[in-house]
Symmetry: C2
Subunit: 210 residues, 2 copies
Amino acid sequence: MKLAVIGSGNIGKSIGTWAAASGYEVVFSARNLQHAQEAAKAAGHNASAASVSEAIKEAGMVLLAVPYGATKELLTELRPLLKGKVIIDPTNALNADFSGLAIGFTTSAAEEIAKVVPEAKVVKAFNTIFASIFASQTSKIKGNTISVFYAGDDKEAKAEVAALISKLGFDAVDSGPLAASRLIEPLALLNISLGYGLGHGTSIGFSFVR
Amino acid sequence: MKLAVIGSGNIGKSIGTWAAASGYEVVFSARNLQHAQEAAKAAGHNASAASVSEAIKEAGMVLLAVPYGATKELLTELRPLLKGKVIIDPTNALNADFSGLAIGFTTSAAEEIAKVVPEAKVVKAFNTIFASIFASQTSKIKGNTISVFYAGDDKEAKAEVAALISKLGFDAVDSGPLAASRLIEPLALLNISLGYGLGHGTSIGFSFVR
């Protein structure tokens, strides 16, 4: 299945590049097509670039690698193209100074995104891991495989996202329905807090051991 | 430092017994003194039993092993005895059917507890681990050391709780101020959800890898 990456920031470039290196066909896209072309060129084999709408049309799975604050306007515009598509949501709705979540408990970024594009199949994933880990194409830290917690309401969409997670070498942990994003998004903030405020740096992650 | 355990449920008995086996002096307490005496007898060496107020008077550190819903009334009554004490809060404010948290995002169980006993030093800890793991006195699962995320506003209190966590063989992860309980409490619900709803059972945990 082809993966469209929306957004040319660190998350989009690093996951997209790694997915391409792992055998996925990846089409990078961004508001600024030149940024998408640069990302595709850097990724090399299996990678191409297109406008955001073209990328979505080509792909079955869409990585929404844009800041949470930009998702509503973007998805409202793109909604007609997203029917039946799998949307991977790696966003976190952080407040202005990154010290906390802007929403939570009674909803989540993923659920708000799903409300905007109800015909798409939103799967929360990849939000608890720093972009630098994706960039280094490493799914292990000191021998421990990092877990990617994913959540969604569509079984097949989840299976496709789980396959991508596993392809990258991560431990794919089915964490339940999309509403479980209310639990996974706080974990991302814990990750950010441990990495920055508490000094562990960005080569960190969580392993679900069982 | 002597550890008082309040509550004779699985969490109190299992952590208290293990702490005693690890060299801590532990005084078990419960509304029903007989339950505390049974717990102390089962724990054996280093363990004793007392009324709740006597136990608190003897100890510097208090494990609040009661359901969250019982904490407010209990602590309001005990408040005069708790000045300067370290309170370890392993509670989770679950809703009636255990499907979600009853509070969160703008507050946490730990912060609500701290509001009731502002003269005590509340440290969130042990809430993301099943009682059966404490009962088995195992801090590793398949070779992976389980992390205990702890949070609090008093540096010395946190150091004392971290020492207990480490003594039991867990990986003690300083997760920041008490407000970080807003992140650690959702992680507990993820743990419960993975263990029960998603079928992984209770021999599970999270490792913070770095």
